[in-house]
């Protein structure tokens, strides 16, 4: 059984290098798959959609990319149970493709990561995200400890979860909110939410728990050298912090 991980390159992707690097540093057998090579995706066991502005985010963030030829294979794979991780723009694409929250048929969006509020503009801010479900609820988080707190960077213009009230109820009661925004000490309140996201949502998973769409970039705070409060004397090149999410992902791919 293949354990290979595909990091998808859409035109406009911009976080591919660090995403590939963190996956490899966490033991993953990861490679890029280019948008002209959609067929190659069939050979991979898992898919990672990195951040960026795929297809220029025309119409809405992720809207065009959700219909890219590569997504046919990703959607089919997700339905089969393959692991799919979308980060930032990748998360927006998964939402537009209806893979999360996945409360309707695949391919049909029921919620959106839309423009931040208040301010309606891009923000770049250090955050923490806290695991808000049982680790085993989502295969990708299964090896994380309960209530895991992960450092990351919110760097997006459209990161606010929005949906109709009925849908938000389904999202909440179905335990689709995998991560919420939190403070450094793990406390959760409105002040920790950088973008006005409904339910304080930083990441969504689907019903089956094989797809995770996370807005903040854990891969940008994933080595000691990235940590603003790293311990003196730590190996700056060693993965840590945000890498925990990718370790758990790679563990899930290997199991």
């Amino acid at each position: 059984m293949s354990r290979r991980i595909a990091v998808l390159l859409f035109p406009g992707t911009n976080s591919e290098e660090e995403t590939l690097r963190v996956l490899r540093d966490c033991g993953g057998d990861a490679d890029f798959v280019h948008w002209t090579d959609a067929k190659a995706l069939l050979e991979y066991a898992a898919y990672v959609l990195p951040g960026g502005f795929a297809h220029e985010d025309r119409i809405r963030a992720g809207a065009i990319a959700a219909h890219d030829a590569m997504m046919e294979t990703v959607i089919a794979g997700a339905v089969e149970g393959k692991l799919v991780l979308g980060i930032c723009n990748g998360a927006q694409i998964l939402l537009e493709a209806g893979l999360v929250p996945g409360t309707n048929v695949a391919g049909r969006a029921t919620a959106a990561f839309t423009h931040n509020a208040p301010g309606r503009h891009f923000i770049c801010r250090h955050v923490y995200v806290k695991l808000a479900v049982e680790p085993s609820r989502c295969a990708i988080t299964a090896s994380l400890p309960e209530g895991a707190l992960i450092p990351a960077w919110a760097a997006h213009g459209d990161g606010r979860l929005a949906a109709r009230d009925e849908e938000l109820e389904v999202i909440e009661s179905g335990e689709h909110v995998a991560f919420v925004y939190a403070h450094a000490d793990g406390a959760v309140d409105d002040a920790a939410i950088p973008n006005g996201s409904a339910l304080g949502c930083a990441a969504l998973t689907n019903r089956e728990g094989n797809v995770l769409a996370i807005m903040p970039h854990a891969e940008r705070d994933a080595w000691n050298l990235n940590h603003l409060a790293r311990r003196a004397g730590s190996d700056v090149l060693a993965p840590s912090g945000g890498s925990a999410l990718f370790e758990s992902f790679v563990t899930a791919v290997h199991s």
């Binding site: 035109p11 290098e17 280019h34 502005f53 450094a184 705070d221 994933a222 003196a232």
Partner: protein, 607 residues
């Protein structure tokens, strides 16, 4: 065959000259006609207008800039090409270098702030990209007018400039790690947008901007956005519409940014350079800036000792029927020129057009062969079978020096003993709320400071930004900018010295060793004695400060004609960037006081 077939249109040139649509002076026009032995064609006139412009030729500033120190142990490439290069250190048996470029985009940003600032970022990124480097960091130094009135035009300019820098830098995925901003009423009608880009390249993979000695017969490849009428000298274009009854195009010199295309173009170019290095081929590459296809190809070939022959019909265009002068000198963004041995051209075309699908990324974007490098040192353009330009390439690319008069005149700004009330608060909290003292967070929060995952100190956490740009290596690069307009009102020389001092201090403050400087010199009208005197005084200050610190300037840019409608110059603004090297990013001081938290028991706050 050359000049006999040249389409001469002296009458038309005369019309343009009468309309005052070029910036060439009467002396320069006479010199061109003498050099050519005839009246220039319309295309030639525009070509000389661009090539002999202050922007391309530094004709009023070159003599002064020669006074700056440019040598040092770490200097791999000093001023002269699109970017300077400094030696950073070794990793895994390879010597790595930092590429740095620093430019202004002031006038476009004042007229169309969002697009002007965005294309400023786009241009500086190409300057680094074309040296064969991965683009790894950005910085911006902004000078705005008095923005206290939320309805003021200055406020609009400031907002839109920040939005433009944010939109462009974020989309291409280059972290903005350093910068500063000042507010001063002297910038009310002329804001300053200076941008710095850093790149990383292995020393043996540096790509130069001249055709190498074996380059005869090499192919000239134009890559990027389809040429359109944007970015064609405003005055020239309106006179064009007068006599060519051309309604095709938009007016003026507005440049249109396309960060989405640039994102793909950058990645495709990385792939092309990797493929060329793997085959041991050293291409030449240059960014298309002022002077468009003509300026870029002429400089690329002339600096290698060659000539060029270009068929303008092969230039991919966004609209049909563009006149040859627009094709030749229009400044459509997101374009680069490569000179390549013919044997590799098909592979390079395939990477750009098929693997990275440029034609599907933006309308008619592509890589296309447009001409060849010639042994004969002529610069020739053909259009629809006619030769529209045929000149000595040396004559074209070596603008005559201008010696502005009375360089010893007194600087134009009267001495100000009183500090502006703009910078004076009634008490401590009031002072902290002043525009020049308050937090810059609302601005830099718009900039992605951490994309690429290499950021050690992001924007806003220290006086300088720090990255560890080589994966797997502890080597770090620090970057900071400085230049205080309130000082320059009193003494432009002192202000320039202080800009060097402050930029260096900032880099030292994060634990880096300063290794090089760049300057962007923003001044008034060099033809006005007082304005020019400020420029000369500032160069004095830069030279003195850099020499005393034993630091070289490796790149720079001069922006003249920054004045308001009444002809007053902006506050003299020598803006300096300092690049620092760090052997081990584990050795530097991370974080700022606010970031110290319970997670790190070793953290203490030092006051």
């Amino acid at each position: 065959m050359s000049s006999a077939h040249t389409k001469r249109s002296p009458q038309r040139s005369q019309t343009l000259i009468e309309l005052g649509s070029t910036a060439l002076g009467a002396d320069e026009r006479r010199r061109i006609a003498q050099g050519l032995g005839r009246e220039p064609t319309r295309v030639e006139l525009h070509a000389f207008d661009a090539q002999w412009s202050e922007h391309c030729s530094y004709k009023s500033s070159r003599a002064q800039l020669r006074r700056l120190p440019v040598q040092g142990e770490r200097v791999v490439l000093g001023p002269g090409e699109d970017a300077g290069i400094l030696s950073l250190g070794e990793h895994a048996g390879e010597r790595y270098c930092v590429v740095v470029a620093h430019e202004s985009h002031n006038h476009p940003s004042q007229i169309v702030p969002f697009e002007g600032a965005a294309t400023g970022v786009g241009g500086i990124v190409r300057d680094v990209l074309c040296m064969g480097a991965r683009v790894v960091a950005l910085a911006d130094a902004l000078r705005f007018g008095d923005v206290r009135d939320p309805e003021s035009h200055q406020r609009h300019v400031a907002r839109a400039v920040v939005d433009g820098i944010s939109a462009y830098g974020n989309a291409i995925g280059v972290p903005n790690i350093a910068g500063d901003v000042y507010f001063h009423e002297g910038f009310n009608e002329n804001a300053l947008v200076n941008v710095v880009a850093l790149g990383i390249v292995k020393e043996r993979e540096i790509v130069r901007s001249f055709v190498p000695p074996n380059g005869e017969g090499w192919v000239l490849l134009l890559v990027g956005k389809a040429t359109d009428p944007s970015g064609f000298g405003g005055a020239s274009f309106s006179s064009l519409t007068l006599d060519a009854e051309s309604e095709t195009a938009n007016r003026g010199a507005v440049q249109v940014p396309d960060p989405f295309l640039k994102n793909v173009l950058m990645r495709a170019t990385y792939r092309v350079f990797d493929a060329l290095h793997a085959r041991g081929i050293r291409a030449a590459c240059k960014d298309l800036g002022a002077g468009g296809v003509m300026g870029c190809s002429a400089e690329l070939c002339a600096s290698g000792g060659f000539g060029a022959r270009i068929d303008l019909d092969l230039v991919n265009t966004a609209v049909p029927g563009l006149p040859p002068d627009v094709l030749a000198v229009g400044e459509t963004q997101e374009r680069m020129l490569l000179a390549l041995p013919p044997a590799v051209v098909d592979d390079v075309l395939r990477i750009y057009n098929e693997e990275f699908t440029l034609p599907q990324i933006a309308y008619n974007a592509r890589a296309a062969v447009i001409g060849t490098v010639t042994r004969e040192r002529r610069y020739m353009l053909t259009h629809r079978g006619e030769t529209v330009m045929d000149v000595d390439i040396e004559f074209l690319t070596k603008a005559p020096f201008v010696t502005p008069s009375a360089a010893s005149a007194t600087p134009c700004h009267p001495e100000r003993s009183e500090r502006s009330e703009r910078n004076r608060g009634t008490d401590a909290s009031d002072s902290l709320a002043l525009y020049n003292t308050c937090s810059r967070e609302p601005l830099y929060r718009r900039y992605d400071s951490v994309v690429r995952g290499c950021t050690v100190i992001p924007r806003g956490y220290a006086e300088a930004g720090v990255i560890a740009p080589i994966p797997g290596s502890r080597l770090g690069v620090a970057l900071a900018v400085a230049g205080n307009p309130d000082l320059s009102g009193r003494d432009p020389r002192l202000a320039a010295e202080d800009a060097v001092r402050e930029a260096v201090d900032k880099v030292v403050s994060v634990g880096a060793e300063p290794i090089g400087l760049t300057d962007c010199l923003n001044f008034g009208n060099p033809n006005k004695e007082g304005h020019y005197a400020e420029f000369v005084a500032a160069v004095d200050g830069l030279a003195h400060a850099a020499r005393s610190l034993n630091l070289p300037f490796v790149s720079g840019n001069v922006s003249f004609y920054n004045e308001d409608s009444a002809g007053n110059a902006i506050p003299a603004s020598a803006i300096v960037a300092c690049i620092g090297a760090i052997d081990d990013v584990g050795s530097i001081t991370p974080g700022r006081a606010e970031q110290v938290d319970a997670a790190n028991p070793l953290a203490e706050i030092y006051l």
